[in-house]
Amino acid sequence: MSLGGDILGVLRGDRRAGRVVPPTGYTASLTVFTAAAMAFLAVFALALSLATGRLAERWGSELAGSATVRISAPAGQVEAQVQAAERVLRTTPGIALVRVLDAAEQRALLEPWFGPDLPVDALPVPQLIDVVEDGQGYDAEGLRLRLAAEAPGAVLDDHSRWRRPLVRAAERLRMLGMVSILLIASATAAMITLAANAALAANAQVIGVLRLVGARDVYIARAFVRRFTLRALTGASAGTVLGMAAVAILPRASAEGGFLTGLGFQGWHWLWPLAIPPLAAVVAFWATRVAAFRSLRELT
């Protein structure tokens, strides 16, 4: 079995070898259609995987380096505890930036829920201190103990409580997208195998004649392999183009839309779907080749 010869045969084409197997009519269209549908789905699975990957990365990187200290204290003690907490924070190794949010910033944070005219000063809203860690990071547990001693109303929120599940969820979605791509590839291989087996069985008489006149298995297999590889490539190319067009017309990512509007490709990630047609062709090549050699041993 000459694999190199097979690959060259598929790329270069052999009109006579292709002609020895009779045309198959509508089953050829079914193979092309199925390959197109699979490629279309693969584009979306890829988009999902890449988008969730971006999401996980963004959530991880944006939130991992920041923390918030929330100070809830009786009205007369807030100022003193803020100063105490600020002192502790500024002397803690691993913290690069400490910034007490002013009333306008706090109002902006609450605005989506309470509207623009919220009198923050009149409400018992906790004072927030924004903390940004340096590259080495800080000891969160040690900081909590020191804050408890110096500013009892201060609570350190390093976002890990809700960041980790979100990142984990995004990573699992990405994994799901990858598993979907693998499943689509496997389903494509199974579909091509079934179609190839059906074609081989339907052409048992032709194969018998070819063996009778001295055709080697590799020659016969090549006729089928080339046919199914080209069909898969054609279908997958069409499906990929349609899938990319569908992804392109999805709403663009926006803060209001959240995750769903970011479900697309960004920048050079648009190149990724272009790998789907050749991969479909490779899957078809292998599936048909394996099916052909197995069937040929059984048929003749």
């Binding site: 004649v209 009778l212 006149v213 040929l296």
Partner: protein
């Protein structure tokens, strides 16, 4: 050296009874053999053993010095380029025209059939099918199909030509025409082995060529006597 040699060959299909038993036979270069016997006697089975379409259950079949059991599938393909076979039902690819069917052994062996177009046309002329090169096999008469099958069998210039009941579906005149072609091939040095139950054909052949007649009887093979 014998081109095909049977040594105590027996054959049974699956768990059924033995179809052929303890057959020893040598197919010498340039010889002309008829193989006869009643329908179901095992003539086709015998021929299939010659071109490794079947493997002996017992004993040994060697073709061109190589044991058939030791041949892999590529060896068998190569063997069939050295043995041209004509079947009673011809076995064409019905979607290809006659010329492409006849050139099929060249095509599958990787030779450029278009480069041998002159030989192909000569061959088609020799079997009397010059006018039918573009016809599809189902459009041919029985005799034309047999002659096309013969042309396909010899296009690779094989050492041996095997024909299995080649005149089974054609009239007497056409049978004689086909016989003439086989005799011509034998005179050109080809080894011919023809399975037939048509004793008139054998008698007609013996007037033109020194043919030996083998008869399959009681699962064995014997040289037929002067009764033929």
């Amino acid at each position: 050296m014998a081109l095909v040699k049977f040594s105590n060959v027996g054959l049974r299909y699956s768990t059924g009874p033995e179809v052929l038993h303890d057959i020893s036979f040598e197919l010498k270069p340039g010889s002309f053999h008829f193989l006869t016997g009643p329908s179901g006697a095992g003539k086709t089975t015998f021929l299939k053993l010659c071109y490794a379409d079947l493997l002996a259950t017992t004993g040994r079949v060697a073709a061109f010095g190589q044991d058939a059991r030791e041949m892999d599938r590529d060896d068998i393909a190569r063997l069939r380029r050295r043995i041209g076979v004509v079947h009673q039902d011809c076995r064409f690819l019905d979607h290809l025209p006659v010329a492409e069917n006849v050139a099929l052994p060249l095509t599958v062996s990787g030779r450029d059939a278009s480069a041998e177009a002159d030989n192909l046309l000569d061959l088609l002329g020799w079997v009397g099918l010059s006018e039918q090169t573009g016809a599809l096999p189902p459009q041919l008469s029985g005799g034309e199909r047999q002659r096309a099958a013969l042309a396909r069998a010899v296009i690779m210039d094989p050492e041996i030509v095997i024909a299995d009941e080649p005149t089974g579906n054609i009239d007497w005149d056409m049978s004689l025409r086909l016989l003439t072609l086989l005799v011509e091939l034998n005179r050109m040095g080809k080894t011919i082995l023809v399975a037939t139950h048509d004793l008139n054909l054998i008698r007609a052949a013996k007037q033109q060529v020194a043919a030996r007649v083998l008869r399959i009887r009681n699962r064995g093979i014997q040289l037929a006597g002067a009764d033929l």
